[in-house]
């Protein structure tokens, strides 16, 4: 599914944080969203999902304008967010986490991603399925969070710092898994990530924000041959 963002501006209250942001992500493609702290990366994701309103511009998912829709309706259309560090229900078991989210995101007739497929993807979750999510290690929680964001029929997944708290080898492994799922299922994605090198291994495009404005937007290959640090 194609996500198209056309010169959006968003912020909190009267204060605009980001502006002039435009991009398009084709099905199966991943775009990295880089920038210094406070550059407006998270604000951009929040605006896409409808957690904060946009004051200008438009957002389109596969040809349909979605910026007027509620958060719930956008999720129903396949938009998903993996929030930074808060992606699981700590007081529920792994099994319950997956069951609850799967039940709420089951689309009639659609061949969605089931808890069984999440277990296939992350076998460690099967072993611990009766353990409370809040008692697991950071890495295991992050796997579950990935799982929750993928359940149902995701069309475009927004990832906010998915590597926080993870060992480096686990990050690469998780990213490789994710790249594979996106390609196989034609899911588009936006990745906010401070581990630039790891991110560049799986993304197709790179967009860099500086003080809420886009300053660099190129393919991954061009990015690798560019000194991108001057844009931060």
């Amino acid at each position: 599914m194609t996500l198209r963002v056309d010169t959006i501006q968003a912020g909190y209250g009267d204060r605009s944080i980001v502006g002039g942001i435009s991009f398009e992500i084709a099905p199966g493609q991943i775009m990295a969203l880089f920038g210094h702290n406070g550059a407006g990366k998270s604000t951009t994701l929040r605006a896409l999902l409808g957690l904060i309103p946009i004051s200008e511009g438009s957002i389109w998912l596969d040809g349909q304008r979605i910026d007027g829709l509620s958060v719930s309706d956008r999720i129903e259309r396949g938009l998903r967010l993996l929030p930074e560090g808060r992606g699981v229900f700590p007081d529920l078991t792994i099994e319950e986490n997956l069951a609850v989210v799967a039940a709420a995101n089951r689309n009639a007739g659609a061949s969605g991603i089931t808890p069984a497929e999440i277990y296939d993807l992350f076998p460690i979750l099967v072993e611990k399925r009766r353990a409370l999510a809040g008692g697991m290690s950071g890495g295991q929680q992050q796997m579950l969070a990935f799982g929750l964001a993928l359940l149902g029929s995701p069309r475009c997944v927004l990832l906010e710092e998915p590597s926080v708290g993870l060992q480096p080898d686990l990050v690469e492994q998780l990213f490789a898994h994710f790249r594979q799922i996106c390609t196989e299922r034609q899911i588009s994605a936006i990745l906010i990530e401070h581990k630039i090198t790891s991110a560049l291994k799986i993304v197709d495009d790179v967009l860099i924000l500086n003080n809420g404005r886009p300053v660099f937007h190129e393919s991954c290959d061009v990015t690798r041959n560019t000194d991108i640090w001057k844009y931060f």
Partner: protein, 292 residues
Amino acid sequence: MLLLQLLVDGAVSGCAVGVVAITFAYVYATTGVFHVAHAGLFTLGGYIAWWLSGQGLPFPLALMGAVAVGAAVGAVMQKAIYETLMKRRASPLVQLIASLGLLAILQNLVALLFTPNMLQFEAVSWRLSMLDIGPIHLSLPQIWTLASSLAILAGLVLFSTRTILGKRIRAVSSNRALAEITRLRPFDVYVVVVAIASGLVAVPSVFIGVDQAMQPYTSVLVLLTAVIAVIAGGIGSLPGAFIISVVLAVLQNLVLALMPGRWSIAFTFMLFIVFILIKPTGLFQTRLKRAS
């Protein structure tokens, strides 16, 4: 023998307080609203059943009617008042004040529609039937209070751990922000939770009303004991809140054997203060820290 009777009577009223405590805790843990108007719903339940049975309705139907009205009033409260305040990002203090307002409205409405004086369930013939188990006297309404309260506790625990709706409610209370972006619709869940709590709290209200008598303004004391039990038991543990309710009520009753009745509330609070000082997280706190 007096001690044993006091103990049993205390345990029975403790079970009723226990239902108030777990339903209050259910609302508080999920919505975050310190729902003192719950006491008003407790009052309302008894009076609705009294009115329905006075209209010639059989008691079981009158009880069901009270549960249904309670659930409906609770749902409207959540949808119309609390949800509006939440969407305007009102602080917990503002929500508490709104809840106090709702409590005053409910109590005065009951006093206005019925009477501010004592009421008895004249239409319920079995209210004075007694049962003797060895040296202990129990009234039939007491036995119903005991049985229904335990059934509600077991039912609510099973509901929240075994059904998908129960798990969804726990998910919303566990991580509200994530619930919103995984389409668990927190605001709809809140309405369901307050409706369930408000319907269930009518049950002990009706049986206590049948057993003793009703007055519009006495429920605040019941809620106060229940809230102490919730805090002492650890917010989030339904059996914990229930057990502490029973213990508190038993102690309140046993104190009667040692000192004048007016000291029993003071005793409850003293116990509460001791608790807050020694174990402020509650006895049965099992909640894990949020993922950081």
